[in-house]
Symmetry: C2
Subunit: 486 residues, 2 copies
């Protein structure tokens, strides 16, 4: 279990007791728990204690609350297996881009519920009011900021704060090696342009952040997929063989809280990876946009933390955690810093001083660290709850990741369920989901989907997941009935 | 003359009288005019009338004020000739990028005066306080804007305002064909990616906006330079031969107020160009970032205004005119709209709703139109004044453009003066200028430089232009003394 509440308190004893009952099968999957009040009377405990215990069980992904209906025991849900062990070329195609556009268009339909979008939506996930006040205060105090024309690398205050924060991830960045960017996406973009030329091969994870695919196409780059373990991330043996054969100009990876897998590479694997990069003089573009949303503290270090020769280009940002509207990212380009800074200037000049200084102030005030702590607890609970809903409503044989951080679940459906068909069926019911087909050119992720857990988990959300599960159950049944070879 | 003040007023009679004296040589170049007070006494006019007349002469580029020293008659200054009439390949090189980096670094040295940067610097050029108030008001009224995650195409309010404004430039854009971008630079970038592939040739002007060169390199594109007349812009006969031979995947040009030439194409040439694009089905990326800073009203239409088949991708922005810090640009991609929108999403997701809505409000309030009117007068006067300073201090044989809008001058030095050497000599004296070598790979613009006229023209500025002129005069003399063939 990932949470470590203070041991021995009454609510924990109750939670452990119920955990044991669930594990032993005395409380079977799908069964209804006593209501909070009933349980308090039965066990002679206060309502607060029972509430705390149930919450802990929810956090553990063992039970799930269904609005107006009480608490239910989740099914056991296995994690996806390490299925794709082959280094593969030619994995990016136009069909993916068309599908991404279809998803994007669906997301913009009014009235639809969006389980695809991987950015928190709703007030509770952001310190919006405090940020708004700080923005107004920067406007008041730095009267002429609107007329400023910042040049790269951008606000020193913010770069300095990013450098200080880097130590929590084991890095020792300095403000002068950091360039501010238009979101982490532009950071990836600049990094790729700094270390590759059109026609080059780039080593990527399987699956990768989906926006990487059109980015590679647009830059005329070809991808080599490196096997990626759903729990341990990039397979370092495979990386070594790719590097030794000099097959790639660069690697791109998310070793600390992967999107969509949710996993982090073990620290020793990161260390070994950093050593290989330095040995084979091959750059790694390390996307660490979710790294600060690791559920466990202290945070595990990034690959960059072990990079002695400057071969890692670290890319981060604040859109997932603090202020999506401010579109602020950053890149520490290691030995490629100067090229990155030039490219930034030539691509989009600079970032807004108003927005950068505001975020810099927020970080300096200590507000960001407090906010992140509460986000970690919140997303841990949200992900556990959605995992519980999947266990409850999705067909038998479904698997789902147990993320180490962030707010997305990677779900493996039974082989009879085609994710793209599910996408279209769900869309008819007003639900948008992210089909696995977005993550590869071929049929590799035909039975996978990504579920976002970063909005209010209310009745509407729960009901959408249930509908999605019911559609999948139906497809599974229809698939079983259908003649073979169809 | 480009200004059209109400005829027959006293100050204008005086101005016309002095203009005649200057034209006839009765007041020769370099001679001192009577002081305002002396003139008022001699001519029995009020001080206000004389001041207005002198200001008009300054606007006409005929006289120039030297702080603490009075008014002087400017030298006649010819305009650069149409010297480069050859269609040329392979015009972009790494040396240009190195030089641009050197200029960029010089611009960041504290205490230096920057005559190179083509973005207005100083409060008087922007409605900073009003924009700041509007920003705060958007924050107050749209409480949750910080937590919003806008998707392309971006704020409807702003797109709608851009569409309405497009009519002043003869266009009929609609909000739904516009995508907001991170400055006009990103618009160019997206446009190039939408219509080219690495390895393609792109037709560009000679010279072009200098950031286009690294952009082309970064995208793996090759440039074909199309002869560009310093007063009439792109040579349409040359364009036709390039299009007929299918030599380019696209064209990039600034037909309405060119940077660095300051010229606009005649309207009939724009019309013919649009026809050719449609005939040969070749896209034009039309950079109209200075188009609203045309000195003469009503504004001349853009090429896009004559584009019936959607072959023109119109790119604009607000960094030069309204709020450089807000980094807002836009693109109307014509028949490539959908590709542009996809690329925007994959490159940098979206623009800040806070900043977009603020600019949208500002436009809607009518404030932008008033602001532009005052900018046109201001830049007309500033450019005339700097032209006067060039006439006064630069070596004989120097030429300078007479811009149709905007705030840069393109200066042709005598052949003995190497612009790169001048750059280094000026840098030693704390002055940053933009050498012509930035604008081509070879020696083509060795004797040219761009001067920005978009800061306060105070004693410090005047003295910097004088120093630059004196350095050039010295180089010319040294060049004359040096043995041939050195």
């Amino acid at each position: 279990m990932r949470t470590t509440p203070s041991a021995g308190s009454l609510y924990q004893i109750l939670a452990d007791d119920l955990t044991a009952a669930i594990s032993s099968g005395r409380l079977p999957a799908g069964s209804n728990l006593p209501s909070l009040r009933e349980c308090a009377i039965q066990r002679k405990l206060s309502l607060n204690t029972v509430t705390a215990a149930y919450r802990l069980l929810e956090d553990r992904g063992l039970i799930v609350a269904r609005p107006q209906s009480g608490f239910y025991v989740c099914s056991e849900l296995a994690e996806p297996e390490f299925a794709f062990r082959r280094i593969a070329k030619d994995v990016v195609g136009a069909a993916q881009e068309d599908l991404m556009t279809a998803v994007l268009e669906a997301q913009q339909r009014p009235g639809h519920i969006d389980l695809a979008f991987a950015a928190p939506r709703g007030k509770k996930f952001y310190p919006g009011e405090r940020l708004a006040r700080m923005t107004s205060s920067v406007l008041r105090r730095q009267g002429n900021v609107v007329a400023s024309y910042a040049m790269p690398p951008g606000s020193e205050l913010l770069r300095d704060q990013i450098a200080r924060r880097s130590q929590r991830l084991g890095m020792d960045l300095t403000a002068d090696c950091i360039v501010l960017t238009h979101g982490a996406m532009e950071a990836l973009h600049l990094a790729l342009r700094a270390v590759t030329r059109p026609g080059d091969f780039v080593g990527i994870e399987a699956p990768s952040y989906f926006n990487l695919y059109p980015l590679l196409s647009a830059l005329g780059l070809k991808a080599i997929e490196i096997p990626t373990h759903p729990q341990h991330g990039l397979d370092v043996d495979s990386v070594e063989s790719v590097l030794a054969e000099k097959r790639v100009a660069a690697l791109v990876a998310m070793p600390s809280v992967h999107n969509p897998l949710g996993c982090s590479m073990p620290v020793d694997a990161k260390q070994r990876l950093a050593k290989l990069l330095n040995q084979y003089k091959t750059p790694l573009i390390e996307d660490m946009v979710y790294a600060e949303l690791q559920f466990l503290e202290p945070l595990a270090p990034t690959v960059k933390a072990f990079d002695h020769g400057g071969w890692v280009l670290a890319c981060g940002g604040f859109s997932k955690t603090l202020a999506p509207d401010y579109r602020l990212g950053w890149i520490a380009g290691g030995r490629f810093s100067q090229a990155v800074q030039r490219l930034k200037f030539a691509s989009s000049a600079s970032e807004s001083m108003l927005l950068s200084e505001t975020v810099g102030q927020f970080l300096k005030s200590g507000g960001y660290e407090r906010h992140l702590s509460s986000l970690r607890r919140l997303y841990f609970a949200q992900v556990a709850t959605v995992r519980g809903l999947v266990a409850q409503f999705f067909p038998g044989g479904t698997r789902a990741t147990q993320p180490a951080g962030g707010f997305v679940l990677w779900v493996e459906l039974p082989p009879q369920v085609d994710s793209l068909k599910l996408f279209h069926a769900a869309l008819e019911k007003g639900i948008v989901m992210m089909p696995g087909q977005v993550y590869a050119k071929g049929p590799r992720y035909r039975h996978y989907l990504r579920l976002s857990c970063c909005q209010e988990i209310d009745e509407r959300f729960t009901s959408a997941v249930r509908t999605l599960g019911e559609l999948a159950v139906k497809m599974q049944k229809d698939g079983n009935k259908a003649p073979k070879g169809r």
